[in-house]
């Protein structure tokens, strides 16, 4: 036998075109360029609990005054920058170790009322009885704005009053209904919001 040391599964994989395909040579440069661009754009992301907790302490400090400043700043930036790409934008969401089997996408469309967000996430167990998921949009320097809460991740519609150009990172956390409006920092999914072609 030519391959008597191999299992049926290995033989099947050796016959699979995916085993033999070669990526195009320019994909290397495209990947490096995409990562470096994202790194430059989003340095200071909230993928770790420690990072989120550090931000939490500064984020809600002086909440009313800060919120007013943020709202004014966001409004002015949104007007001047226009968030002019009216959509759709899309975020491919990556899991953290809190939900390693989860994944999802968030599609953002601009409307007269604000940004409509269609979220479709899988692999997140249902949360209720005092627990829920909360979605946020985040600036590059860590400011978070809540954009809605939900119990299950599939077929969810959320609304945001801030745009994806000024708040270009989508984040989902686990939260307890304990009256604390701060982020728990328990990030389960996150990803950059990118303009779709």
């Amino acid at each position: 036998m030519i391959d008597d040391e191999l299992t049926d599964e290995l033989r099947a994989m050796l016959a699979d075109p995916a085993t033999w395909v070669e990526p195009p040579p320019d994909l290397e440069d495209r990947v490096v360029g995409a990562v470096v661009a994202d790194a430059n754009q989003t340095s200071g992301n909230v993928s770790t609990l420690a990072d989120a907790r550090r931000r939490r302490s500064r984020w809600w400090l002086g909440a009313v005054a800060a919120s007013a400043i943020v709202v004014v700043a966001v409004a002015s930036v949104a007007v001047t920058r226009g968030d002019s790409h009216s959509g759709p934008f899309e975020a491919a969401l990556t899991p953290t170790e809190l939900a390693s089997s989860a994944s999802g996408t968030a599609v953002l469309d601009r409307t007269d009322s604000g940004w409509s967000i269609y979220l479709d996430a899988t692999g997140l167990p249902r949360l209720d009885d005092g627990w829920f998921y909360q979605a946020w949009q985040q600036t590059n320097d860590g400011t978070l704005v809540p954009v809605g809460t939900f119990n299950e991740g599939s077929d969810v519609t959320l609304w945001a009053g801030v745009g994806p150009l000024t708040f270009p990172i989508f984040v989902i956390t686990e939260e307890a209904a304990d009256g604390n409006q701060d982020s728990s920092g328990r990030v389960v999914l996150t990803g950059p919001i990118l303009a779709t072609p």
């Binding site: 030519i2 391959d3 008597d4 040391e5 191999l6 299992t7 599964e9 290995l10 033989r11 994989m13 050796l14 016959a15 699979d16 075109p17 995916a18 085993t19 033999w20 395909v21 070669e22 990526p23 195009p24 994909l27 290397e28 495209r30 990947v31 490096v32 995409a34 990562v35 470096v36 994202d38 790194a39 430059n40 989003t42 340095s43 992301n45 993928s47 770790t48 990072d51 899309e90 491919a92 969401l93 990556t94 899991p95 953290t96 170790e97 390693s100 089997s101 994944s103 999802g104 996408t105 479709d120 996150t190 990803g191 950059p192």
Partner: protein, 184 residues
């Protein structure tokens, strides 16, 4: 698979480190994406998403942890997200149908099976060019020893010896797959 930890530079977004990680895992991730999506262009998109998402999640990766299974999860999820996005598209041009035939049949492959295809890919890459050619013609093209000999213009005995060496190497380097499957 040989254990490899995440280079610190990758976590920092250093271009040289990102390129090094791509050179180590890029073909492997591409194979995973292609197997899921069945389309070269979609696989390329999935590879880019995989590395961007990996960089974004790099802080959650333990420095001494092997990147391969972690990347397998991210690659699989990136490919499935693209597959779901493509499935939502209501209209396809006729020219696109060939590319979407396989992507329409994806049934959420397991991380383990995706990891395996990467491991097989690595084992094949470790073969000599001559051995790899024999394995490809025998398994992918389905040729007999005699047909491989004719195709390569070498004696059938040489084909058999190269095939034997290659299979021993594959069996040895992929033994962990057989062990995890419970096969002997």
């Amino acid at each position: 698979m040989e254990s490899a930890s995440a280079p610190e530079g990758f976590r920092e977004g250093d271009p040289d480190a990102v390129r090094a990680v791509y050179l180590r895992y890029g073909r492997w991730v591409y194979a995973v994406a292609f197997r899921t999506l069945g389309s070269a262009s979609l696989a390329e998109e999935a590879v880019q998403h995989t590395f961007v998402n990996a960089w974004r999640a790099a802080a959650s990766l333990q420095p001494d942890r092997d990147m391969a299974p972690w990347l397998a999860t991210i690659a699989r999820n990136a490919a499935l997200d693209i597959h779901r996005r493509e499935a939502r598209r209501p209209v396809l041009a006729l020219s696109e149908l060939d590319n979407h035939d396989r992507s329409g049949s994806v049934d959420d492959p397991s991380v383990e099976s995706q990891f395996d295809i990467g491991a097989v890919r690595e084992a094949i890459d470790a073969l000599s060019d001559e051995e790899r050619a024999v394995i490809r013609l025998a398994h992918f093209d389905g040729l007999s020893h005699a047909e491989v000999a004719t195709r390569l213009g070498i004696p059938i005995g040489t084909v058999k010896s190269r095939s034997s060496r290659a299979h021993r190497h594959l069996a040895r380097s992929l033994a962990h797959l057989r062990a995890s499957d419970g096969t002997s």
